[in-house]
Structure formats: structure tokens, C-alpha cells
Amino acid sequence: MIRLSLSLGLAVLATVTSAQAAELPAEIKQAGALKLTVNSTYAPMEYRDPATNELVGLDVDLANELAKRLGVKIVWSETPFAELIPSLQTRRADFIISGISDRASRRETADFVDYLATGPQFFVMADNAAKDATDLCGKKVGTTRSTSFPVEIEKWSKQNCEPAGKPAIQYVPGENSIDVRNQLKQGRIDAAVQGSETLPYAQTQEPGKYRVVGEPFAKGYQGIMFRKDDAALREVVTEKLTAMIADGAYKAVLDKWGLGANAVAQPMLNAAPQ
């Protein structure tokens, strides 16, 4: 099934690249490679396989497929989450595909091609009593401090705990998603918040340990991030992505990582609500 879609994709590639190859920015064409940097601590989007230490993930697979269709290689590098945006601005990376959310505050200097539905999601240890998300009001909730989630939690708490007359959620910072799950296991926090895209993976890694509470409480998208002045590259990648969705290569990658439910019908530009 995948081989069929791949060969179909190659056929599309053959027709499309012959017409569009001219639009790939000159430096990239010359180098024959895309420079991409990821924060490889975010399974299943991008992480190092503990067994082989290889860089793997949904974003890695999507990027590899894109690069194939563009006729270039990829030179991967890794960086902390907070360095992703600076890496784009200093041109260390051509674009960012690294589980980064499309947010209005980030659109000052960048454009997002949204490719995956996401949203912050509460989860607890399986034996926790919490049933609804409002059971978490007044409790300690942790999340990675370098993301937009602390702000999301505060907003949600104001909108849902205050009106119900319950105390606000106590936010507890963590360094990364593994640190956060660690603190949850030790009981330093009662619940945690992570992007909904990470939870199916966490649950297969440690089956039965965690339980999701409520629905993702803010609908959003993961986006591929481009510099504002890089419209040409952005359009080329959007075209390839559209093709991948059309011929099923995109769905195949998502299904491989258990995130078929987070698929989008087509790539969108700066479509996240806030």
C-alpha cells in the first residue's frame, strides 16, 4: 500500500518537479540539501530511537518525503526548543518542522504552513481520581515551561475554574516532556499537559500508566515555520505537501505514528485560531 502510494508519488514528483524545480531557492538547489534543525526530545514527532540512537519521528518522515519530492537531501541538526525560532531567523535552518505550534505571537517574523491538528491535553496517572477536566482546578499541573502551554493552562483555568467557583490551577514548570512525565510519576504534580500528538506514543511506551482527561482544550495546529521573506520556498513545500496528502503518503506517515486522527485535509497558511 505504501509502495503503491510512493510510486504514485514519484510519478507526481516527475511531473511536478519538472515544472516547479525552478522555484526552489537558488542556494538550496546549489547545495542540493535542505538544512533542517529539530528539538529531538519530542516523541513521536522527532526523537532519538533509544535502541539505535537514530533520529526518527513523524516530522522526520514527513520532511524526508518532502525532500525526496524536491530532489534534495537533508542535513539534520538538533537544538533546544527555545532555539528553533532563532535558528530560523539566523538562517541556520531553511524551515522548521519540529512539533512547533502555529501561534499568533510567533507570526511577527514567520509564516506557518499548518500540517497537523493538535491542542494541549490534560492527562493524569491511570489511578488518579480525576474524571472531568474541572476536577483539576486547584491541583498542581505541570508542563514544559519553554512552550506556549503555561499560558494555555492559565487561560483555561481562568475560563473554567474561576466561573465554577473553584481555585485556579497551580502551574508547575518542567524542563521537557520527559521531565514533566517524571514529575507526574513521582507525584510532584497531579496532572500534566502535553500536545495531544505526544500522548498516543507515551501510552504505547508505558501502557496503562496514563489516562487522558477531557478533550484537547485549545484547538490548534502544528505548522512548518518559514521566514516571512521566504515565500518561494514556502509555496514549493506547500505544493509538495498537498501532493502528499492527495496521494496518501501523508496519511501513511501519520498512521505509522498513531496520529491518523490528527490529519488535516490540506495544508493551511497561518490558520491557527490564536
Partner: protein, 285 residues
């Protein structure tokens, strides 16, 4: 008896001549080169992608100032813990008791042999090994409740420092002339009393200058506690740039503050050194 002969001929009197000053061409040249390099660096920083308005805006932000206070509080407390542990362990190391000696050597080996950041992470996540801690029968508590970022940072930094301080203390104690110890013994003092009243006070004079240096290092080492959520300077600066993406501007803010603190402490430490060196020089006959 022969009379003292007159001075020999052929050696002129140079006492009226002055020694000419050397031009030191190379020094001038290298100084000029260094000034040029520095000017180029300053220009790069001024013209680069740095928004200096953010630097000035956050330089005295409340969160940053709180961070500095927390940094200094932790530095002082952890250093104090390190010194206390260092003295105890050094005395144990010099004891004739092989059990004490081995425990002391083991402690030093373990805490100097692992990276500080690793130790901090282990302390913070202690609950994974000991979910409950306490004294059986008297008091118990959840490890996560006891091991706050503050306590984890204090223990991590202090116990690590103790391992290094114990070596400094040991060297200091061994540097005291053995005759001092013998004189103390000759008037009937036991080992511990002699250490406390005679050896340690003299060792401190030798040990305080390097400890001053270690303190300056400790001020910067506190930045590692950012990964266990202790709200020191770096942690707070990071939180700001996590929100506004101004990474390098906030790092410059933090860097400037660290530089300021160290610039104040360094001449103080040199004063300390000179005062104690003067003491020991005075003692030398």
C-alpha cells in the same frame, strides 16, 4: 703586611649615565591590533540582529532582580554547606580510623567523579528511588514534598562543593607545620582538640583565599539549578525568552548581571588574599 692596592685602570666611571628607554615596538603593534579586534567585535554586536531595547527593558525587570537575589542566596548557603562538609570530611580523611578514612575518600570520589548537573537532577528526582523519606517511627513525608527545587539545589550544590572543599582543607591542614601538632600533643591535647584549636585556625589562613575563588565559581554554578526549576537568574531569564522569543537579548541581560556580581567579588577576593598572605608572611621569620 701589604698595603691595599689602588683600583686598576681601564674601567670607566658610568655612574653619570642613564639607561635609555626601550621603544617596545612589538607591544605597541600588538596593542593596536587588539584594539582593532575589539572594535570589530563591538561593531558586530551593535549592528547584529540584537534588539538592544529589550536588553535595557529587562535589565532591571522584577523577575530578573528576584533571580539575582535567589542566585546569591543559594550561592552563599551552598558554599556554607560545602565548607562545613569540607572540614568534616577532611578531618575524617586524616583520621587514623580506617572506616572514617574510607568513607571520606568514597564521598570525595563519588561527588567529584560525577557531573554537577547529574547530581542536581538525581537529588530533584530522589522520589523515584525513595518515594517516602523520614525517621522511622518519628516522622515521614513524601520525598517530592520535601525535595523542593530549593532543597535539591542546596543539597546538590553544597554536597558537591564539599567534596572539592575537603581537598582544599586537607591540603591546608597538611600545610601546617607538624611541629604545631607535636607541641599541642606535648601539652596533653588529644587529636581532635589539637585540630580544632591549633591546626584548623592556622589552616584557615591558607585555605580562605582559594575558598574565595571557589565562591565566585559557585555563583555561576547556581545557573545549573535552572534545570530543576530553582528560580535563579538564568531560569528566570529563560522564562522571559520562552514567552517573547528574545533569546540572545535575555541571555545578554543574564550575562551582564553575572559579570557585574563577579566583578564586584573579584577585587574583594584579592583583598582577602592579600590580608591573609600578609598574616602568613608576618609569621614567617
Amino acid at each position: 703586611m701589604k698595603p691595599v692596592p689602588a683600583l686598576a685602570e681601564g674601567f670607566p666611571d658610568l655612574s653619570g649615565m642613564r639607561i635609555a628607554r626601550e621603544p617596545h615596538w612589538f607591544r605597541w603593534l600588538s596593542a593596536a591590533l587588539i584594539v582593532l579586534v575589539l572594535a570589530a567585535i563591538v561593531r558586530a554586536f551593535a549592528g547584529g540582529q540584537i534588539e538592544w531595547s529589550y536588553v535595557s527593558r529587562f535589565l532591571t525587570a522584577k523577575v530578573i532582580l528576584e533571580g539575582i537575589v535567589n542566585t546569591m542566596v543559594m550561592a552563599v548557603l551552598a558554599m556554607a554547606l560545602g565548607i562545613v562538609l569540607g572540614v568534616v570530611v577532611a578531618v575524617m580523611r586524616l583520621s587514623p580510623n580506617p572506616v572514617l578514612k574510607t568513607v571520606a575518600a568514597g564521598y570525595t570520589w563519588l561527588f567529584r567523579g560525577t557531573p554537577l548537573i547529574l547530581q542536581l537532577l538525581l537529588w530533584f528526582n530522589l522520589a523515584l528511588v525513595f518515594p517516602t523519606i523520614g525517621i522511622p517511627g518519628l516522622w515521614s513525608a513524601r520525598a517530592v514534598d520535601v525535595m523542593t527545587p530549593f532543597l535539591a539545589a542546596l543539597l546538590g550544590l553544597g554536597i558537591n562543593q564539599g567534596a572539592y572543599t575537603s581537598e582544599v582543607m586537607r591540603a591546608g591542614m597538611l600545610s601546617v607545620d607538624i611541629g604545631q601538632y607535636e607541641a599541642a600533643q606535648a601539652i596533653g591535647m588529644g587529636r581532635l582538640r589539637a585540630l580544632r584549636r591549633i591546626i584548623l585556625p592556622q589552616a584557615m589562613r591558607v585555605v580562605i583565599p582559594p575558598l574565595g575563588n571557589e565562591f565566585i565559581g559557585m555563583v555561576k554554578a547556581t545557573s545549573l539549578a535552572s534545570v530543576i526549576q530553582y528560580p535563579e537568574l538564568l531560569h528566570n531569564a529563560e522564562n522571559i525568552y520562552y514567552a517573547n522569543s528574545r533569546v540572545i537579548e535575555l541571555l545578554i541581560v543574564a550575562g551582564l548581571w553575572y559579570l557585574l556580581v563577579v566583578s564586584i567579588l573579584t577585587p574583594l577576593q584579592m583583598l582577602l588574599e592579600r590580608r591573609f598572605a600578609r598574616g602568613t608572611l608576618r609569621l614567617a621569620r
